[in-house]
Amino acid sequence: MPDKKPISSVNDFVVRFANVNGSGSASANEMFARAILRHGVPVSPRNIFPSNIQGLPTWYEVRVTEAGHLGARGGVDMMVAMNPQTWDKDVAGIEPGGYLFYDSTKPMPSTKFRDDITVIGVPLTAITNSTYTDPRQRQLFKNIIYLGSLSALLDMDPKLIEQLIGEQYKGKEKLLSSNVHALHLGRDWALQNLKCPTGLRVKKSDKVGDRIFIEGNSAAALGAVYGGATVCAWYPITPSSSVAEAFTAHCKKYRHDPATGKAKYAIVQGEDELASIGIVIGASWNGARAFTATSGPGISLMTEFIGLSYFAEIPAVIMNIQRAGPSTGMPTRTQQCDIIACAYASHGDTKHVLLFPEDPAEAFEFAAAAFDLAERLQTTIFLMLDLDIGMNHRLCRPLKWDDAKQYDRGKVMTAEMLDEGRDFGRYLDVDGDGIPYRTYPGTHPTKGSYFTRGTSRDRYARYSEEGTVYADNMQRLVRKFETAQDLVPRPLQANAERPTKYGVIYFGSTTPAMDEAIGLLEARGHQLDRLRIRAFPFHSSVASFLAEHDFVYVVEQNRDSQLRQLIVNENGIDPVRLVPIVHYDGSPITARFIAKAIGDHQDHLKVTPLRKAMS
C-alpha cells in the first residue's frame, strides 16, 4: 500500500504514455483516447515527440476531462511507463497518490519505484512472447495488450474499444480479430490478477455531444479546399508537413472531375521554401487561389517574397504552424513565437495580416476566409497555427459551411469593364479604401496590361523613383491596412461577473487553458475581463479594452511577449499597463501556470495597490 492515499477520480485525470519512437504505440494510444470519447467523456490528447524517426523517447498524454478542459493540465495521475530510457523521469513525474503501470516481466529493484504511488505491473512481454513469435507482431500487439489492461484498470467498456478496432480494420478480418484477441489478453490478465478498477475511472457520460475530433492541420487543409485553393506549393518542415499532406488527401477525395478523373488542383513539393512561396506568388498573380504551409525557418526564407507580395500587392496565403525557435530551435515543440516575424516580415516598411485560430474548427474557418482576404486585400495573409493545435487531435465543434457563400475574388477588372472605358491604374485608389484594381494576365488584347515589379512605381504601374510618388504609394498601403481592420475576424470579449479593472488578452492555442484558468482565478477571488484576439491588424475594440482596464495581462507562448510588443507598438500605449504572462518551454501552456502567474500578480497588487501607494 502506498503511504499516500491513492488518487480517486472519475472522468477527470491525466494518463501519460511513455514510449519509444517508432514502436507503433501511437495508434494504440490514440485508440485509448478515442475509446474514452466514445464513453461520452471529453479528452484532450497531446503528442510529445522528439525530432527523430526511431529510437528516441516519445510521450502521449491524455487528459480525461468531463468538464471539457481541453488545455494541457500539467502533472500525471497515471504513467504508462513503457520506455526504460525515461523511467526515472517518468516515475518522478507522477502526482503523489498516482499510479504507475509498467511491464513487470523482468523484476525491478524496489529503489526504482516510489512509496507514495500505486504500482501496477503487468507482464506484457511475457504475455506477448508466449502468444506471438513474429518480432514485429510482438511489438505491435504489446501496445494493444496494455490497452486491454488499462480498459480493466480504468473501468472502460471493452465493447466500445472493440467497436473502434472494427472501424479501423474494416474489411481486414484477420487484423480485426487478432487485435480484439490481444485486447482481451491484456484485459483478462488484469481482471484476474489485479484490483480492478483503480481509483481512476471512466464513467459513461454525455459531454462530447456532436463535437468532432480532428487535428488542426487537417482542418486548415480542408479549409483551403473549401476556400477554393487550387495551387499548393510546399516544402517539408515539422510541424507543417501534415497540412500539405492532408490537403493532398482531401483533394484526392473531393477535387477530381468525376467525368474525366482530372485534378482541379495542382500541388508541387518545391525544392525549398523560396520556390514554394514563389510558386504561390506566381499563381496568385495569375488569378488562382494559392497557399503554402511552413514553420518558422520557412518564414525566414520566404521574407523577400513576402515583401514583394506586400509592395507589388499580390495575394498569398501562408499557413505558419509555429514551433519553438529561434534557428532550428525545438522543431517538435510548440510556441507562439513568430508573431513579430510575421507581422513585420521583410525589409523596408511592411505590415501583414495575421489570423489566430483557437482550434481546428476556427483553423478551418479562417483558412477558407484567408483566401477571400488575400484576394480582397491583395496581400499576404498569415494563418498562425502552432504545433499544439496543428498536430494534436482536438475536440471541437463540427465544421460548418454555408452553401450560399460565393468567393470574394476582390477587385479584378475584366475585359468588359476595360471595354466600357474604365480607367485602369494598377495602383490607383479609386474607392478610397486603399485597394486598387488588378487585371489577370491575358485579359484584353490592348487594355489592362501592366508590368508587375518590386521596384517603386506610380499609380499606373510606371517605374518611378520620385519621392512623392513613392510616398503616395506607401501611404495608400497604410490606408489599405486600415481597411483590413474591419475585414478580419474581430476580437471576442467575455466579461467577468462583476465589474473589474483587470483584463486579460490572449490568442490562439492558449484559449482552452485560459478559459480554464478563469475558473481557477475566480476561485481565488480574482475577476478578469477577457479579450481573445483573433487577428492583426487589431480592431478598434482592442484599444477600447485597454482603455477600460487599469492592467491588462497578455498571455502568450513566447519569451519576449511578442503580441504585447505588437499591441504597444500599434496602439501607442503605455507598456506598464500591459503585464506579460509568458510560457515558452516548448510544452503547451496550462491553466495552472496562467492562474498562478496572474493570481500572484493580483495578490501582489492587493498588498500594495499601485494607485494608492502613489497618491
Partner: protein, 351 residues
C-alpha cells in the same frame, strides 16, 4: 536616349501577320539598357519570333528575375502582362503562373547571375519539373547592373575589364539543362538573329521545358580582349550545328533548302522545324550524344550553337499532375467547394 517617348504612330503600309498585327504591336517601351547591348538584340528577336508566329501579344506572360536581362520584358510585348519578380526566382514565379492558367504562353527571361548563381536551384528544378515555358538566359558572363563582377558562367581564365582573371570553373547552363531533362535545348548568340529568331519561335511552340542560352556580350563590362563573352570572341569560336526554320501552317516544300541537308522535326502542336544541318553527323534527338558533343567542343574552346536537343513528344507538368483542361484560375466555388453535405459526412467520420 531613354528620355524620348516612343512614338505610337507607324507607317500605314507596315506588313501585317496572320492576325493583322504589325511588328509594332509586339514592341514594348524603349530600352533603358546601354546602346549596343546584346540583350536588346535578343529583345528584337523575341519580337520578331512572336510576330512570325502570329501570337496574340496579350496571351503571353513575361516573367523575369532581377538584373539587366530581367529588365528586358518591359521592352517587348507591351500589351502582355510582365512580372519583374525577385532575383533568381523567375522559375518559381513562372511555375506558379503556369499552374494557374495553362492556356497562356510563358516566357521566362533571365540572366547568368539570375540563373547560374542566386537562382541556380530554381533554374534546375523548373527544368526538372517540365514546366511548359520558354526559358531564355541572356548570358554575358558578368554582373552588369552592379558594374562588372564575374558571374558563374564566366570561363575560367577569362579576364574582367579591370584585368582580374577568373579562377572559378564556369557553369554551362546548356549542359545542365540537358542533364536535367529539358526537352528543348539550344544555344545561340545575340548577334546572330538569323539563328536566334527561329530558335525562339520553335521553343515557344514546343510543349515542355524549352531552354535557350543566348550569349549576349555586355558592351560596358565584358566586351574587351581577354573576355570569352565578347562579340569578337564569340564570332570567332561559334560552331553552329544547325540553322532552323519554324513552319506553322506552311508547306515545307516552299522552303528553299537542298534536300539531304534538311531534317524536319514535327512538334507536338503540329508545327514543323526545318533543321538545316551544318554538322552532318549531329542528331538533335540524342540527349547523350548532345552532351558528349557539347563537352568535346567546349574542351576545344568552341561555343556550340543551334538546336542541340529536342524531344517533340515531351510531356509537361500539367500532364504529370493530371490537371483539368480548364485553367485553374477560372474555377469558382461551384466546382471547387465540396459543400455542406460533404462536410456533414466528414464531421460524422470524426466522432
Amino acid at each position: 536616349m531613354t528620355y524620348i517617348a516612343k512614338p505610337k504612330f507607324h507607317h500605314p503600309g507596315l506588313k501585317k501577320n496572320e492576325l493583322g498585327y504589325t511588328h509594332r504591336d509586339y514592341e514594348g517601351k524603349i530600352s533603358t539598357l546601354c546602346a549596343g547591348c546584346g540583350h536588346d538584340s535578343i529583345t528584337a528577336s523575341i519580337i520578331e519570333a512572336c510576330y512570325e508566329l502570329s501570337i496574340e501579344p496579350h496571351r503571353v506572360a513575361k516573367i523575369s528575375g532581377i538584373g539587366c536581362s530581367s529588365k528586358t520584358p518591359d521592352y517587348f510585348l507591351g500589351n502582355s502582362h510582365g512580372f519583374n519578380s525577385v532575383h533568381g526566382r523567375m522559375p518559381s514565379v513562372l511555375t506558379g503562373a503556369n499552374l494557374a492558367n495553362r492556356d497562356l504562353i510563358y516566357l521566362g527571361v533571365s540572366g547568368d547571375g539570375d540563373s547560374a548563381s542566386i537562382g541556380f536551384g530554381q533554374f534546375a528544378h523548373s527544368i526538372r519539373r517540365a514546366v511548359n515555358m520558354t526559358y531564355i538566359v541572356e548570358n554575358n558572363g558578368v554582373y552588369g547592373l552592379t558594374k562588372g563582377q564575374f558571374s558563374a558562367t564566366a570561363d575560367r581564365g577569362s579576364k574582367s575589364k579591370k584585368g582580374v582573371t577568373n579562377t572559378d570553373n564556369a557553369i554551362d547552363l546548356v549542359a545542365i539543362a540537358l542533364q536535367l531533362g529539358a526537352t528543348f535545348v539550344a544555344r545561340s548568340f545575340s548577334g546572330d538573329k538569323t539563328q536566334l529568331v527561329p530558335l525562339i519561335a520553335a521553343a515557344i511552340r514546343h510543349k515542355g521545358a524549352s531552354f535557350i542560352d543566348v550569349i549576349s556580350p555586355c558592351i560596358a563590362f565584358n566586351n574587351h580582349a581577354g573576355s570569352t563573352k565578347s562579340f569578337d570572341y564569340v564570332r570567332e569560336h561559334n560552331d553552329a550545328v544547325n540553322r532552323l526554320d519554324v513552319l506553322v501552317g506552311r508547306d515545307p516544300i516552299a522552303v528553299d533548302y537542298a534536300p539531304g541537308t534538311v531534317q524536319m522535326v514535327e512538334q507536338h502542336d503540329g508545327s514543323k522545324i526545318a533543321l538545316r544541318k551544318i554538322d552532318a553527323d549531329y542528331d538533335p534527338h540524342d540527349r547523350l550524344g548532345a552532351q558528349t558533343f557539347l563537352q568535346k567542343h567546349a574542351a576545344k574552346g568552341q561555343i556550340v550553337t543551334g538546336l542541340l536537343y529536342v524531344d517533340p513528344d515531351a510531356e509537361d507538368l500539367h500532364e504529370h499532375l493530371n490537371t483539368v483542361e480548364t485553367p485553374l484560375n477560372t474555377l469558382e466555388a461551384d466546382t471547387l467547394c465540396p459543400g455542406s453535405a460533404v462536410l456533414d459526412k466528414f464531421n460524422a467520420s470524426l466522432r
